[in-house]
Amino acid sequence: MEKNIVIIDDEQNILSTLDRFLTRTGLYNVTTFHNPLVALESIPLNTDMILLDVMMPQINGIDLLPKLKERYPSVKVVIMTAYSTFDTVLNAQRLGASDYIMKPFKSLNDVANKIKIVLE
């Protein structure tokens, strides 16, 4: 059965590439949002996992994370960050993130593997 993944990132090219790649695997049903504030209001209730970018203009991922966890407490959240500081990662985990992926990604398969591990 397909898992439902939501991707929140302000970069349209990243969104569409991840969407096409993950859909192509046949394992996931993907919904994307380039505006994090819209995402907060519109995430489908059957979502299994959220891939959340940290750096976005409207609200950063770290600030959005507790709001998402409050509304969707059972959904696993993986943050995508270009800022690899220990503090950022620790803070994200403290706020409820299950894991993190560094940007730039090593490969699309690396993203898929991370999703698989977290969902298992």
Binding site: E11, N13, L18, F21, A82, K103
Partner: protein
């Protein structure tokens, strides 16, 4: 007989007078001697004092000369220190900017890398045709153009240009924002620009960029230090009959009253020890003067407002 008496009388009179004259002359002589001695003494004393004065004067000249040397040395030391501080501030600023550019590049590199990888899967799926290639090329060109733009702006920013020209202040602000955008986004700082009353300035654009960046970087540091929520920086351009103004205000809590008076002096910082060079706003103030303007600051409702003002010509 009568004549003899008269003669005797005159002789007696003359004798007495002579004696009296002699006595008086002796007195005068003594008085003269006494005064002469006193005068000699005074002259000697005066000579001595004159010598002493000459000696003191020489000493004073020496002191004056030494003092001049010391003042020159101190001025040279201070100029050297100021130069070092400016260099330090420049390097710190360069480091921050390099960091900002590196972060700016992560996004397009990440995008290009993903798109190129995806192209392999699309090829496997037989999705690649002319239209696909054109679209991909366009998307990748956009990413590369953004990277080149950032790189060029970074190179220009630190190029020591001395050529004064007329420059459009709104474009200058845009160039600064292009460089620092990601860093400010990372710290959730919203920057609002109202350039409806745009104007041009005569001067060195690169230097003026430093004036802007020093001010907004200070706001950023204050936001972080004060853990301000809903962080906002407003940049506004204003033109009236007399002057042109650039106002930069924030809601970072303002500048302490005991510091605000001296905020444009060198070595004054509100930041924690080791975090500020205390030279940024001093530099900004110097740059403002070089552009025939002044830089002032006032505390406003939730923060501080910096105002660059120059007379309209």
């Amino acid at each position: 007989m009568k004549e003899d008496k008269t003669v005797a009388y005159i002789e007696k009179f003359l004798d007495e007078d002579y004696v009296s004259l002699q006595v008086n002359l002796q007195k005068l002589l003594k008085d003269y001697e006494r005064k002469s001695k006193r005068l000699d003494k005074i002259i000697k004393q005066s000579d001595k004092q004159q010598h002493q004065m000459m000696r003191l004067n020489d000493e004073l000249d020496d002191h004056k000369h030494n003092l001049e040397i010391k003042v020159q040395e101190e001025i040279a030391k201070r100029e050297e220190k100021e130069k070092m501080l400016l260099q330090q501030a420049r390097l710190a600023s360069m480091g921050e900017m390099m960091d900002a550019v590196a972060h700016q590049w992560k996004q397009p590199i990440s995008t290009i890398s993903l798109m190129v990888e995806m192209m392999g899967y699309d090829f496997e799926d037989d999705l690649i045709d002319d239209k696909y290639i054109q679209e991909y090329q366009k998307k990748i060109d956009t990413q590369i153009a953004h990277m080149l733009n950032t790189l060029n702006e970074f190179r220009t920013f630190f190029r020591p240009s001395k050529d004064a020209t007329d420059f459009d202040i709104k474009k200058t602000i845009d160039k600064v924002l292009l460089l620092i955008k990601d860093e400010f986004m990372k710290n959730t700082i919203e920057i609002e620009v109202d350039a409806s009353q745009n104007f041009s300035l005569f001067g060195v654009e690169n230097e003026f960029k430093h004036l802007i960046i020093n001010i907004i970087n200070n706001s950023k540091d204050a936001f972080i230090e004060n853990q301000t929520e809903a962080r906002k920086i407003s940049i506004k351009l204003l033109v009236d009959d007399k002057c042109k103004k650039l106002e930069i205000s924030d809601n970072a809590g303002g500048i302490p009253e005991n510091v605000i008076e001296n905020i444009f002096k060198a070595n004054v910082t509100t930041k924690a020890e080791g975090k500020g060079t205390g030279i940024g706003l001093y530099m900004s103030s110097q740059i403002a003067q070089k552009h025939n303007g002044t830089l002032s600051v006032e505390n406003v409702k939730d923060g501080a407002k910096f105002i660059f003002a120059t007379i309209k010509r």
